[in-house]
């Protein structure tokens, strides 16, 4: 009896061991057909975590983010990036935080335990901020494509970066824009999330500074569909403008209900409502209202239309919102790894801070906090079911013209070619060359 049991235990152990061996050997056959040369290049697996809500009211935005990350990962794998003498194979570990801060911390711990080499996300500021502590403690670089609350990068974590202008910049731009539109009184609504509240507070400051009177401050939540009660109260204060800090799933119906209640005020919101979904949900009621997005409109960016085509073709759906930013975030991680010639978080982290990457959304470089340098804010108007670009406020060389961006792109290409030839030192020199090029374009733009 006992002998039998030992035999079974042995065979199980053997099977496990075999299984483990099988796993280790797996990457080899992938590399083999690609390189018929005598020595096949080793493959190094780079695990990147991606977190966004895949369930709940913001699931559509979460999926959009994941698509952006997937597109980047697939392109990187097709390109066969070489890091530390091995071909890097990027793997995306996509997690769902349901836009819930508690869930956000749980999946963050899961990614830390899975020893990911980098994290892309989260989508919401409310989940990004608590999770960033875990990543910082584990020394894992984190780049969010969409968390705009200023607090995220102000906690003193060396691992926290974002590739989008923050809400201080956005709130300020929106406040200035409102004043420029001749708004005298405003009612502010926020959804009590870190993002919504943060944006509304920054807007409030900017509006007050511009001499706009705040006549009502109301609150909702990020799961609500009925806003009639708070809108009725807002109606009694007769504002010129209703500002909403929150997401499209609430903003759309809110616009509709404003119209039903006979509120004549205009509507203004941040990046969370600057989506096609918002217009779909708000219908005609959104016509003529405004929203803002960090960065420049895609069609005005050198690589924008190309990215849009790729995205539509690959996933058969329109870009919702942050996909290009998330795509850039992945590319920045890969770029930093390449420059550090290592996929070790501790080794490539310093390189993330020195990034100067010509992405789809902007020329990405970080300040000492990990915020995007010179982030521009663009204002859009909802017109005939489309987002129409109005103007860009703030921003440095990024907010320049198409040709300038093209010049930078050429410079970057040159850098890329030198990089493959001359290795690490050349990359550093190349990065400086890009910086110079950026400054040159800035000067050129100013001359123009």
């Amino acid at each position: 009896m006992q002998a039998k049991f030992t035999a079974i235990a042995l065979s199980v152990a053997a099977a496990l061991a075999l299984g483990a061996c099988g796993k280790k050997e797996e990457p080899k056959p992938v590399a083999a057909p690609a390189a018929p040369a005598p020595v096949a290049k080793p493959v190094i697996v780079v695990k990147l975590g991606h977190v966004a809500p895949m369930t709940g009211p913001q699931a559509h935005l979460g999926k959009d983010n994941e698509y952006g990350a997937r597109l980047a990962v697939e392109e990187l794998n097709a390109r066969g990036l070489e890091i530390g003498g091995a071909t890097a194979k990027f793997e995306l570990l996509a997690e769902d935080d349901a836009a819930d801060p508690k869930q956000g911390a749980i999946v963050a711990q899961k990614l830390v335990d899975a020893k990911v080499q980098g994290v892309i996300g989260h989508l919401n500021s409310g989940t990004t901020i608590p999770a960033s502590k875990l990543y910082s403690d584990a020394g894992i670089p984190q780049i969010s494509g969409s968390a705009t609350n200023p607090k995220y990068t102000q906690q003193g974590f060396k691992t926290a970066f974002r590739v989008m202008a923050n809400d201080v910049q956005q709130g300020k731009a929106l406040g200035e824009f409102a004043a420029k539109q001749g708004v005298k009184t405003v009612a502010i609504v926020d959804d009590r999330t870190a993002y919504g509240q943060g944006l509304a507070d920054e807007f409030k400051k900017a509006a007050a500074a511009a001499g706009i009177k705040v006549v009502a401050t109301e609150y909702t939540n990020d799961k609500a569909t009925d806003f009639k009660a708070i809108l009725t109260k807002i109606k009694s204060t007769k504002p010129d403008l209703v500002f909403f800090g929150g997401m499209d799933a609430q903003g759309g119906p809110m616009n509709k209900q404003m119209k039903e209640l006979g509120i004549k005020a205009k509507f203004l919101g941040g990046d969370g409502v600057c989506t096609p979904e918002f217009m779909k949900l708000g219908g005609e009621a959104t016509e003529g209202n405004y929203c803002s997005l960090p960065g420049m409109p895609l069609e005005k960016l050198a690589k924008g239309p190309e990215f849009k085509d790729k995205f539509n073709k690959k996933f058969g759906t329109e870009i919702q919102l942050y996909a290009p930013y998330v795509y850039d975030a992945v590319m920045v991680v890969a770029d930093s790894m390449k420059r550090a010639d290592s996929v070790e978080p501790a080794k490539y982290l310093p390189e993330v801070g020195k990034t100067s990457y010509d992405g789809v959304t902007a020329l990405i470089a970080f300040d000492e906090f990990g915020d995007l340098k010179g982030g521009a804010i663009s204002i859009y108007q909802y017109k005939g079911g489309k987002l129409e670009y109005v103007e860009t406020l703030g921003g440095g060389p990024v907010g320049a013209v198409k040709e300038a961006a093209a010049e930078v792109k050429d410079a970057a290409k040159a850098v890329a070619s030198t990089a493959t030839e001359a290795g690490k030192d050349a990359v550093k020199a190349g990065a400086e060359a890009v910086k110079d090029a950026a400054e040159a374009t800035k000067a050129a733009v100013e001359k123009k």
Binding site: M54, T55, G56, P57, A59, H60, G62, K63, R192, T217, E218, Y219, T220, N221, K223, T225, D226, K228, A229, I230, T232, K233, K235, S236, A249, G252, P253, K256, E260, L261, G262, E277, K280, L281, G283
Partner: protein, 325 residues
């Protein structure tokens, strides 16, 4: 210029708009409450007969909305007139939800009829999660817009605005509730339901087929759920696979407030909850001098719920049901 002369009467002109805001809040609450009530009827019917809280009812409502959207949009694309497409969508939703309700009872609750009370409660929560995820797979994560099957007509009454859809919601809820009361108190099926509710064993000894009665309760409750789903869809014009969750929770609260198991109680509880919420959101800030904002609106609803349950543990209209409560 004329306005300046009216300055001595300024206090009058300030008071008047406040009245229309109050009226507007009452209308908001009444409409919201009618929706709660319609959903609460589904909870209360099942609870009244089986003593089971069917937590998947909110998901039945959601599936009703999504089926209507799919059917109505297809028909509209095929060139069918809006009103006809809307009606066809409604019929399809009611049929689909009736089948769903029947299936839910057969699969998740009937095998557990004699199990401890907690067991069917847990399967109910499980079914709710399953249905949400199935809907997510079938209809996707994106928000869907409800086709505009009803013409947009706006009314104004003493400064308060309301739409034809809102009037329809209140009227339909009222009619449905009256119909349900007639069914329960005036028909043979209703008599069988009441008998099963009082004592299932004795009722079956008297020749009542309790399985059929319970199935009927689920089917009727789900049909009401589908109707509620269509109302919600036409009102907010958006739908999402998670829309049933909060709605179900609020409707459940309404049913408890009114006295779960009691039809009139569900209706009263729903409307009361809707109005309390609207007034809470509208006036909590003024009442507390800005200390509490409108995000505390739920506090009002739940304080009322707690106070009612303290003095009337079985709800406003609830009857004392002894052991089977």
């Amino acid at each position: 210029m004329k306005r300046h002369r009216k300055v001595p009467f300024l206090h009058v002109t300030v008071d008047l708009p406040k009245m229309d805001i109050f009226l507007q809040q009452i209308i908001n609450g009444l409409v919201q409450g009618s929706i709660y009530a319609l959903v609460a009827l589904g909870y209360t019917m099942v609870y009244g007969i089986m003593g089971l809280i069917n937590f998947a009812h909110g998901e039945v409502v959601m599936i009703g909305t999504l089926v209507t959207i799919t059917v109505a949009s297809l028909l509209i694309k095929a060139g069918v007139p809006l009103a006809v497409a809307g009606l066809a969508g409604l019929v399809a939703a009611v049929l689909a939800c009736m089948a769903l309700g029947w299936g839910l009872e057969r699969v998740a609750y009937r095998p557990l009829r004699n199990a401890p009370r907690l067991t069917p409660l847990i399967t109910a929560i499980g079914m709710s999660i399953v249905l949400q995820n199935v809907a997510m797979i079938v209809w996707g994560r994106n928000y869907m817009t409800f086709p505009p099957v009803l013409p947009k007509i706006n009314f104004e009454l003493a400064g308060a605005h309301f739409t034809a859809v809102q009037v329809m919601i209140v009227v339909v809820s009222g009619l449905t509730m009256s119909g349900l009361v007639l069914l329960v108190y005036r028909t043979k099926l209703g008599m069988a339901m009441r008998a099963t509710a009082q004592n299932p064993q004795v009722a079956s000894l008297m020749g009542v087929n309790s399985n059929r009665v319970i199935s009927a309760a689920f089917v009727i409750g789900s049909a009401l759920g589908a109707l509620a789903g269509v109302m919600v869809g036409t009102y907010y014009e958006i739908a999402h696979y998670q829309m049933g969750f909060m709605l179900g929770l609020k409707a459940f609260t309404a049913a408890v407030l009114g006295g779960i198991g009691n039809l009139a109680g569900a209706m009263a509880g729903g409307i009361l909850l809707g109005i309390i919420e609207a007034l809470g959101a509208g006036y909590i800030g003024d009442l507390t001098g800005g200390f509490l904002g409108s995000h505390y609106q739920d506090i009002f609803a739940f304080i009322v719920l707690i106070v009612v349950l303290m003095f009337k543990p079985s709800g406003l209209f609830g009857e004392k049901t002894g052991d089977r409560a």
